[in-house]
């Protein structure tokens, strides 16, 4: 499933690039997409957030495998709370900046960054440091504060969340990069890649009212899936999540997990908390729904120490 998706994406991207650059022979474009023996998941530890990403994406074959020349990219961090980066409630701004830089190096036309925040969005964008970092890397920081940015989509196969209003940038962009921060979460147990997708939809109250875990899993069935999940576990909130109360909630993990398989990425991430897929309801639901692979032993994993 995952691999097929991967190749499809690669093909689509390759064809798109091929149309734009028909000077290149077709074989060459095709060979630039996923080699079949590529890693399914990369785990990096011991470095700075941006340096870890440099290593990780290199092992995966470079950003060029995911972003083709002239494509638009949307990077979706967690900017949910108006707290500073050291509170680990939001994605590391250094990492976001470096991801955007890699996208542009790969030839991206425009990189967008947004999140539908919980706290006041202007304060969130500012205090998380993400707006500044993203703008430094030339990304377009887009708002998600108004329902008018969201469009209704249907989710085939969903058990509860049969439709949702999704941000137009997710629908319009060629490449979708999901960059959650790993956190403890009061209601969802843990928040990683799957839970982070709650920030691309408008009506979250529906999820909370109608079986949160099932809705989180359901949304992963929607056709616009993240091409890449980059889990920021540099600073990690261990309790009082997702907002946290103080820096006392935070420990330094200096870790990062990258995978195109959203379930695998989340299983690997919660393993850092000593948890299994079964311990987090939405992860095990997603695995039952065949959204991704929860058995990491079946995957080819690159483990990097820095």
């Amino acid at each position: 499933m995952k691999r097929r998706d991967f190749i499809k994406t690669g093909l689509a991207a390759g064809v798109a690039a091929g149309i734009g650059f028909n000077l290149l022979p077709f074989e060459k474009v095709f060979s630039a997409t996923a080699p079949l023996d590529a890693y399914d998941l990369v785990a990096i530890k011991g470095g700075k957030a941006d340096a870890m990403f440099d290593r990780g994406i290199k092992v995966l074959g470079g950003m060029g495998r995911f972003v083709k020349k002239g494509q638009t990219v949307v990077v979706k961090p967690n900017i949910g709370w108006s707290v500073e980066p050291d509170r680990a409630a939001t994605t590391n701004p250094l990492l976001i900046k470096r991801i955007i830089e890699h996208c542009y190096q790969a030839g991206a036309k425009t990189v967008y960054v947004f999140d539908n925040t919980c706290d006041n969005w202007i304060k969130c964008y500012q205090e998380s440091g993400i707006e500044k970092a993203a703008k430094e890397a030339n990304a377009k920081v887009a708002p998600a504060n108004s329902e008018s940015y969201f469009q209704e989509v249907t989710i085939p196969g969903a058990k509860v969340l049969k439709s949702a209003k999704v941000h137009e940038l997710i629908l319009e962009s060629d490449v979708f990069i999901n960059v959650p921060v790993l956190k403890n979460h009061g209601s969802a147990d843990m928040t990683v890649s799957m839970k982070n997708l709650m920030g691309v939809v408008w009506d979250r109250r529906f999820w909370h009212r109608n079986d949160l875990h099932q809705c989180i899993a359901d949304y992963c069935l929607y056709s616009k899936k993240p091409h890449l999940n980059i889990v920021d576990a540099y600073r990690v909130m261990l309790k009082n999540g997702p907002r946290g109360v103080s820096t006392n909630d935070v420990q330094l993990f200096q870790t990062q997990i990258i995978s195109s398989d959203i379930v695998a990425a989340d299983v690997a991430a919660v393993a850092l908390f000593g948890k299994k897929a079964e311990d987090v309801k939405h992860i095990s639901l997603a695995s039952q729904m065949k959204i991704g692979e929860k058995d990491l032993s079946k995957l080819k994993i690159a483990r990097i120490n820095m």
Binding site: A43, K45, G46, S82, T110, C118, D119, N120, I122, K123, E127, K140, V141, A142, P143, N145, S146, E147, S148, Y149, H185, G186, S187, A188, R204, R205, F206, H208, R209, N210, D211, L212, H213, V236, L238, K239, N240, P242, R243, V245, S246, N248, D249, V250, Q251, L252, F253, Q254, T255, V267, A268, A271, L272, F273, G274, K281, L296, I301, R303, N305
Partner: protein
């Protein structure tokens, strides 16, 4: 002499436009661009807020603006009305515009409507002593202007902004962004709207009639201006009774027949000074002894004013008893079936409590337009009848950001004191209440946790419950009453968690937070 005096009008026009523009910008500034210190300086001269501020904050110098206005009035007449009052300037502009559509308005002298003006002033004062600011709120020109700008001007601006940002986004420009906003309830909108209509009518057909019959500030300043050192004076010797001066007088206070100017009604616009072809009118220093008794029948009318006051007063007593009812709306739905009855509304942090807030707030709605999370909304009957339009924290509209103190920084009347962030984090404006019978976890046995997720202090947190579920638990001691839980709670029509306002704000205990234990270190091997 004529030349130099006509400069006064030009100065008046410029100063008043600058003040009007600046005040308007402050009310429309939905991005909070204007620094709070500027706002404080700008609004320093606003009479009613400054007056309330001064007496509530133990005679603070920073709130002495109204004294400056009193002194100015004593020296030059009702400078406030033509220079600083945003409503006054707006009336002048409306009257100017209306001239384009109809024949130029020719003003004529009219007698002072003492019954009305002293009646309104007296009632306002009596109500104040009864402990309600309702009349101050409904009549204060600054607050009325604020409400017009905040409730009518700002939504119009936001429509414009959203239209513009929509166009720009099509061109991939995200510098202007759309703003999600809720129009106030129509019952609330009715106040500024009908007031605006009234003002347009007055300004179009009767000049500054509002200022001389209704406005309590105008009447107070008029009492002083009667004795002001500088006065508009007419000279019987050069006056040809042509009426040019009186035809420009929007206060209708120039009596050409007797060659007198009623300084208690003169709004110091100085239009008349440049109108006289004969040099028969002037603005000069005069001593107390020269004060001309203008209203020989004054005593009689004062007695009348007192009579009407008492009539109003008796009528006001039943009004007070009408104020107990609270109002709530809602339609039936599957979950959240237990109705919520809040005993007390939640007042903004820094407002100390119900009494302090409701006696000092003039409902100018500056805090409402400045509030970044839009949780501050005008109330209808939440504070009772006499607190109509005073802002309260409306958890349907938003929740109070833990790290924001803007409302206290902009409040011109000290109804909301400025808090530091540390003070704000300790201020408990209300207490969280849990209605488990409405909670999704309890009724449907499904995880939710939206409340705990949003809680900045973890006064609401999730604890294990039945079959692997988590259910909210509350700790009122560390709750600050921000209402994030209530806002986030998804049940309809009644929430499962809400904030009950503290009638007097209390101190919240600091949430204990121990350093977490290290559960993974980059020196260990990966656990997979």
């Amino acid at each position: 002499m004529l030349m130099t005096l006509s400069v006064l009008k030009k100065i008046r026009v410029i100063v008043s436009l600058v003040f009007l523009l600046a005040t308007t910008i402050v009310f429309l500034d939905f991005r909070n661009i204007i620094p709070d210190s500027w706002i404080k300086t700008l609004l320093y001269f606003q009479f009613i807020p400054s007056l309330l501020n001064f007496f509530s904050s133990s005679l603070a110098i920073a709130a002495s603006g109204f004294i400056v206005i009193l002194v100015l009035s004593f020296l030059f007449g009702r400078i406030y009305c033509s220079f600083f009052c945003p409503l006054g300037t707006m009336m002048d502009i409306i009257s100017r515009i209306s001239e384009k559509f109809k024949k130029r308005k020719i003003f004529r002298f009219s007698k002072a409507r003492n019954l009305y003006r002293y009646g309104f002033l007296g009632l306002t004062i009596i109500f104040l002593f009864m402990g309600t600011t309702i009349l101050v709120n409904l009549l204060d020109p600054f607050s009325n202007y604020g409400r017009i700008a905040a409730n009518i001007g700002k939504p119009l601006l936001l429509y414009l902004n959203n239209g513009l940002s929509f166009l720009l986004e099509k061109m991939n420009i995200y510098t202007i962004y759309r703003e999600e906003f809720i129009l106030p309830d129509w019952t609330i909108l009715l106040f500024p709207l009908s007031f605006l209509m009234l003002i347009i009518y007055f300004a179009t057909f009767h000049g500054r009639l509002y200022c001389n019959t209704v406005c309590p500030v105008g009447t107070i300043l008029g009492l002083l201006s009667r004795f002001s050192l500088f006065k508009i004076k007419m000279f019987k010797t050069s006056c040809t009774s042509c009426g040019d001066c009186s035809s420009t007088c929007k206060a209708s206070c120039i009596d050409i027949r007797n060659c007198t100017v009623d300084m208690s009604r003169c709004v110091a616009c100085y239009n008349c000074l440049s109108s006289c072809p004969e040099g028969g009118i002037s603005y000069e220093l005069s001593g107390f002894h020269k004060t001309i008794k203008q209203n020989p029948s004054g005593d009689k009318s004062k007695r009348k004013a007192l009579q009407i006051l008492f009539t109003f007063l008796i009528a006001a007593i039943p009004l007070k008893s009408m104020t107990q009812g609270r109002h709530r709306r809602g339609r039936p739905h599957t979950d959240g079936t237990i109705p919520i009855h809040k005993k007390h509304p939640v007042t903004p942090p820094g407002s100390k409590g119900l009494f302090h807030f409701t006696t000092l707030c003039t409902s100018c709605h500056l805090c409402v337009t400045s509030c970044p999370t839009k949780v501050l909304q005008p109330s209808l009957f939440e504070y009772g009848f006499e607190g109509i339009l005073q802002p309260h924290l409306d958890s349907n509209a938003g929740f109070c950001n833990y790290d924001c103190v803007i409302c206290g920084q902009v409040c011109p009347s000290a109804a909301i004191h400025t808090l530091t962030l540390t003070e704000k984090h300790k201020t408990q404006i209300g207490k969280v209440q849990l209605v488990l019978d409405n909670c999704v976890v309890f009724t449907r046995h499904k995880d939710c946790g939206s409340c705990a997720e949003h809680c900045p202090t973890q006064a609401v947190h999730m604890i294990p419950w039945k079959k692997n579920l988590k259910i909210p638990e509350i700790n009122n001691e560390i709750c600050v009453g921000c209402g994030a839980c209530e806002y986030a709670c998804p049940t309809k029509p009644y929430k499962a968690i809400y904030v009950e306002g503290n009638p007097i704000h209390l101190i919240a205990k600091k949430a204990e937070s121990k350093q977490t234990e290290q559960i993974f270190s980059p020196k260990e091997d990966f656990p997979f």
